[in-house]
Subunit: 368 residues, 2 copies
Amino acid sequence: MSDLGVAARLSGTVRIVGAGLLGSSIGHALRAKGVDVVLTDTSPAQLRLAVDYGAGRAARDDDAPALIVVAVPPDITADVVQAELERHPDAVVTDVASVKLEPLRVLRERGVDLARYIGSHPLAGRERGGAISARADLFVGRPWVVCRDEETRPADLALVEALALDVGAMPVEMGPEEHDRSVALTSHVPQVVASLLAARLADADDGALRLAGQGVRDTTRIAASAPELWVQILGANAHPVVSILDALAADLARVSDALREPERDGARRTLAEAIRQGNEGVERLPGKHGQNRRFESFVVMIDDTAGQLGRLFGELGELGVNVEDLRLEHSPGAQFGLAEISVAPAAVRGAIEGLEARGWRIAGATNG
Amino acid sequence: MSDLGVAARLSGTVRIVGAGLLGSSIGHALRAKGVDVVLTDTSPAQLRLAVDYGAGRAARDDDAPALIVVAVPPDITADVVQAELERHPDAVVTDVASVKLEPLRVLRERGVDLARYIGSHPLAGRERGGAISARADLFVGRPWVVCRDEETRPADLALVEALALDVGAMPVEMGPEEHDRSVALTSHVPQVVASLLAARLADADDGALRLAGQGVRDTTRIAASAPELWVQILGANAHPVVSILDALAADLARVSDALREPERDGARRTLAEAIRQGNEGVERLPGKHGQNRRFESFVVMIDDTAGQLGRLFGELGELGVNVEDLRLEHSPGAQFGLAEISVAPAAVRGAIEGLEARGWRIAGATNG
């Protein structure tokens, strides 16, 4: 969104090393702001694709970048950051790797002067990668972690934060340890858990899968992610991930023991506590899905057509109902869709009565 | 849906024992079909509420029900089924408990004649319980498991399946062991995993939670469920749940070990295999979320108003685009919403170009 961007602050050439999904998306977003972007990639084909798609121009030896964005896989991030710092003695260098401590550790171990390096991490991505999947709006509304330290010059920090703002992201200052601990909890461990749970479905009976509802679908959705990248991410953030996995394993063992001896003292209390603490945790998540209690939902039965949705939301607009969240579910085997609509509790009754008066069929909210 | 119902097959009085969410919802659905429904509940207040809301009439001693539906908590299901079989020697008795083996084991242990008993389980529910949350359409499009056995008379089975059809559900015949194994995998274990993962967020730093994306929200959504009911469900299905939890714990330990010694032979392969098997599992789930590869999605930036959604879907209708799935996400801190729209791959380009031509801003699909 233009009102989020501050193009004026990003002046001079921006050099992007790595023309994959993140690098090319940053290129597209900056080009849209009129910023001069030069790209490079170890793969000539990938680079040509990114340039052809308008993510920037191919880098030349006489480029004099003010800011360099290293957008390469985590395991070679430190090497590339070091090379760029040495090759461009006047440029500020940042990277967008999803782990921040390991590259920093390697660079310090090598005694690299890191005065001009500021690690960062935009929390955005897609299932599909590569320059061909790049989108100028990939970062809109997403947090972009910026890891300053005591060495960081204010002007350099402003440059990296301007980069985040110019692509529509929200800069969040955080130390590398805190970043890695945080994403271990909110991204890396959920990925491991979703993958292991989904793996249990791989050789399940078809009959069992017929009973699957929205619950198991949501719990395993991110298990569709790409193995290659995740092996690197998990490997580079192993310590915080392992410590959370160990705590999870202990909790899991407590629940299993309670289920093995349900009559044992406190067994039922152990189970109830596990579910209750889960209630507490999910309520702390930001965003609509972590604030279920703020909204109430009802389900409208619709034919599976965009036209019906148009009429539905048009009439919700006429009724003055503000839709807080919505989700379309298809009942397997049934010839219609269920649109679950979340609104403020005070608006539920008016919405349901108004829609029913207009002939809509309201169904009970279903869960997995 | 009337075309799914077969009201003609459900004749005579249906007696519902337990006027909570499921019992009252069945009552509402059957009353809408013109079926004579009598209700009873150990709580006079709950019964009065259900009757006042139109779920049926209060049971009398001279009722002669053809079908009895026991809709009470799992831990007293066997007692109530036995009492109903003895009190109504001509009626077919079913129950709707979410576990099927444990009540059957208790009834057989007591030597109860089970010729007229057919256990069943509608896979539907809501976060909120009680007669006040009951909905006539709670079961529409959902599977309803019916556990026949060699004793079951065809006419009795037809009666229970007519019940399922009349409330809009899809009867699925399955043995009690298969049912309990299936729901352990598709419902009970996902609940435990989501709760334990969410519990890890309960005492997390606010800073960490700021980085939470859609991934962790989806993975933990069902952790909002009620502890009391789940203690009973898990306790009554302990054996299959524990065996899956043990397998999960072993997988978890393998991943943790691989992360502790990333350089060990096969460590990276262990991680890659865990993610890859998760890919396989999630692809086997029925419904849109298990068939991501069949659809491609793009994200439209919208103001957070029903009117905008109305215009969006109205124009998608004009463009002849059939929306296969959709999801509204609010970017924390941003002043707009992101509507992720899934369509058939062949329709993506036309939809995006058509919407952009009409002035909509298309953003890249974001994930957690």
